[in-house]
């Protein structure tokens, strides 16, 4: 049994077999093969080689059938030759040093890669060769692991995913119904893996150094997403204890959700509060509705753009938006314009690396550069607005000029559609994300140009605290409870109230039951969070009167640092949600 500690990012317990992604980075334990098993290990390796050869041949046939231009078959022929060339030295190493075939393959490829990368490589020639070898290695590893774990085969069994880091495209490529948990080496509470895991209610722990090294595919693991722990090959007693915990946790979630579904979302004294859902994919809308969402407060559209090799065309986008509107059955849906750059790597575009991507060309800044993408998306959103209550929102606004420019482009697209005789909602509300300090501080000014504001706390906290949210080293400084953050949030809510512009919040904070009461006290009347968080938030807000919330809001602002704020709020929330705190 081995215990690994990391950052808890999505609560719950997951128990099952490990499935390790990123095999090219995988270092295998140098486990000796007992003498009498050498022949069996060699046979296992030969079977793996056969299956890889079949797999590559299959790829050659498929590629020839589908792609004409690039000579991929030729490259795969080369990979086939590499596999055949590897057989003799690997078998020799198994016999001579009694390495496992996995270790022998990994060692051989590592030697080749080392040789290839030992010289300068100005043209990138050697690094392309490295990619060829790691591709072959990956195939062999998968074939070898396949015999030791049932988690292969696109995850026939449910499994816990281990990876160094998961890109958004990798994350969505996974079959979500077969994932018991996520464990990654990188990332923080607001990384994409974390957000997605929480949205789906999948336990996740991030920031475990060497997680993919210490765990082999097929190991039994326990992911404790509440405490931030991963237990590898647990003993019987630990396993029993966690199985019981798992049942309790699932029961608590289900109970809260059942208990809250039919309850109105209002404070104890009957003030109506909007509870909306953040979604990433059109398919989540139905889930959001089942969790009691009164609408979609944030439809992140980036994922649609990661999924395809090329940016989705107007029709594809229009259909995705219309599906969400249909599934939400008349409830409002806020669509955020594409927010990429920085951490959201964009597979289909060409974003040159920046020195400071978080302070670089992202959000609306990027959209102004890519007018083609921006206009296509606006057309699709406007067209969808004929079929439901759509609101459009611009990300990463920092100045009034940007708002004006974005609106001018929107106006232009509207005229274009009108002249084409295409229907859309002429009254479509236009809002902005408040996530840059300049926008938060001057929210009263920005209000003059928009219909609503939505506070994006993930970025706001990062920018106010000057803390890169992906950097684990300084993650303790990422403090949503810091007095500066709380003051700024209150200021934005008050600015909106003075201008009679509705203010919503769509960051992680609005789904954290710890902050529900103070935010209510600051005047927030619209919370948008991942669907699974909604029942808990509802439970908390139904337990307080507005006056009590205001009192908490005043108290919390008197505290001097995040530590005291969290302590004070935890104490208070525990009374309402003893199961969670």
């Amino acid at each position: 049994m081995q215990i690994l500690k990391g950052t808890p990012v999505s609560p719950g317990i997951g128990i099952g077999e490990a499935f390790v992604l990123d095999i090219e980075e995988y270092r295998l334990p140098r486990r000796a093969v007992p003498m009498e098993q050498v022949e069996a290990e060699i046979a296992r390796f030969e079977t793996a080689v056969e299956s890889v050869v079949t797999e590559i041949k299959g790829d050659i046939a498929r590629v020839e059938a589908s792609i004409a231009g690039e000579n991929l078959p030729g490259i795969f022929q080369g990979h086939l030759a590499i596999v055949r060339d590897l057989v003799a030295p690997v078998i020799e190493a198994v016999k001579k040093y009694r390495f496992t075939p996995e270790h022998a393959v990994s060692k051989k490829v590592r030697t080749i890669v080392k040789q290839l990368t030992s010289n300068e490589d100005p043209t990138g020639f050697a690094s392309r060769l490295v990619a060829d070898f790691t591709d072959v290695e990956k195939r062999l590893m998968r074939a070898l692991f396949g015999e030791r774990t049932s988690a292969r085969d696109n995850g026939r069994a449910k499994s816990v995913i281990f990876a160094r880091d998961l890109t958004p495209s990798q994350t969505i490529a996974l079959d979500r119904t077969r994932i018991l948990g996520f464990v990654t080496e990188f990332g923080g509470k607001t990384s994409h893996t974390a957000i997605l895991a929480r949205a789906q209610g999948i336990p996740a722990v991030v920031g475990i150094e060497n997680a993919t090294r210490d765990v082999s595919g097929g190991d039994i693991v326990i992911v404790d997403g509440t405490k931030g722990m991963v237990i590898v090959e647990p003993d019987e007693e630990t396993l029993r204890k966690y199985r019981a915990l798992e049942r309790n946790y699932v029961n608590f979630e289900r109970r809260t959700s059942d208990e809250m579904r039919q309850q109105p979302s209002a404070t104890a004294d009957g003030i109506q509060i909007a509870l909306l859902a953040n979604i990433e994919l059109p398919d989540e809308a139905e889930h959001a509705r089942n969790c009691g969402a009164g609408g979609i407060g944030l439809f992140r559209t980036e994922f649609m753009f990661f999924d395809a090799r090329n940016p989705p065309d107007e029709k594809t986008q229009f259909e995705a938006y219309r599906k969400v509107l249909r599934d939400m059955e008349g409830r409002p849906v806020t669509i955020r314009a594409l927010d990429i750059g920085a951490d959201k790597e964009f597979a289909s575009g060409t974003i040159a690396p920046e020195r400071n991507p978080f302070l670089g060309c992202r959000g609306i800044r990027y959209l102004f550069e890519r007018m083609d993408l921006f206009r296509t998306q606006l057309r699709a959103v406007l067209r969808a607005s004929a079929f439901g209550r759509v609101r459009i929102m611009f990300p990463m606004i920092s100045t009034l000029d940007e708002v004006k420019q974005a609106k001018a482009i929107l106006e232009d697209v509207r005229e274009e559609l009108t002249s084409e005789g295409v229907e859309f909602d002429p009254e479509i509300p236009v809002g902005i994300m408040i996530e840059v300090p300049s926008a938060a501080i001057s929210a009263d000014i920005l209000c003059s140009e928009v219909d609503f504001l939505s506070i994006g706390t993930n970025d706001l906290v990062q920018y106010v605290m000057a803390v890169d949210r992906m950097n684990e080293k300084i993650s303790s400084l990422y403090q949503p409870g810091h007095p500066s953050v709380l003051r700024l949030i209150r200021q934005v809510i008050e600015a909106g109230a003075l201008s009679e512009r509705p203010v919503s919040m769509c960051g992680e904070m609005s789904g954290d039951p710890l902050f529900t009461v103070p935010l209510l006290g600051f005047g927030l009347r619209s919370f948008s969070a991942m669907p699974t968080a909604l029942p808990t938030v509802k439970k908390v807000l139904r337990s307080v009167t507005l006056e009590e919330a205001r009192e908490v809001g005043r108290e919390v602002l008197k505290l001097q640092d995040s530590h005291h704020v969290i302590e004070f709020l935890t104490e208070r929330t525990r009374k309402i949600l003893p199961e969670m705190f």
Partner: protein, 88 residues
């Protein structure tokens, strides 16, 4: 023994596809064919060894063959190089 000095003329160097062809070709001869780069010799019939040469465009290589059909082997390799492996 036969020997010749050649330059990699393919724009993308001796990458996977040309290396595959070269290894296939070398395997057809009885002679042992070697490719030498900066004094480092590898067996031409091994794709892995060929690739580890990391012979980019413009690299000068020596082709060396030893055995009964050494001259034919070297001539065939030369032909492959000058035809740019039929790729460009």
């Amino acid at each position: 023994m036969a020997e010749i000095t050649l330059t990699v003329q393919n724009k993308h160097g001796l990458h996977v596809r040309p290396a595959t062809q070269l290894a296939d070709l070398a395997g057809k001869f009885k002679s042992r064919v070697e490719i030498v780069k900066d004094g480092h010799a590898v067996a031409a019939r091994s794709i892995i060894e060929l690739l580890t040469l990391a012979a980019a465009h413009g690299t000068v290589l020596t082709v060396r063959a030893e055995g009964p059909d050494a001259a034919e082997a070297v001539a065939a390799v030369e032909k492959l190089f000058t035809s740019r492996f039929g790729l460009e």
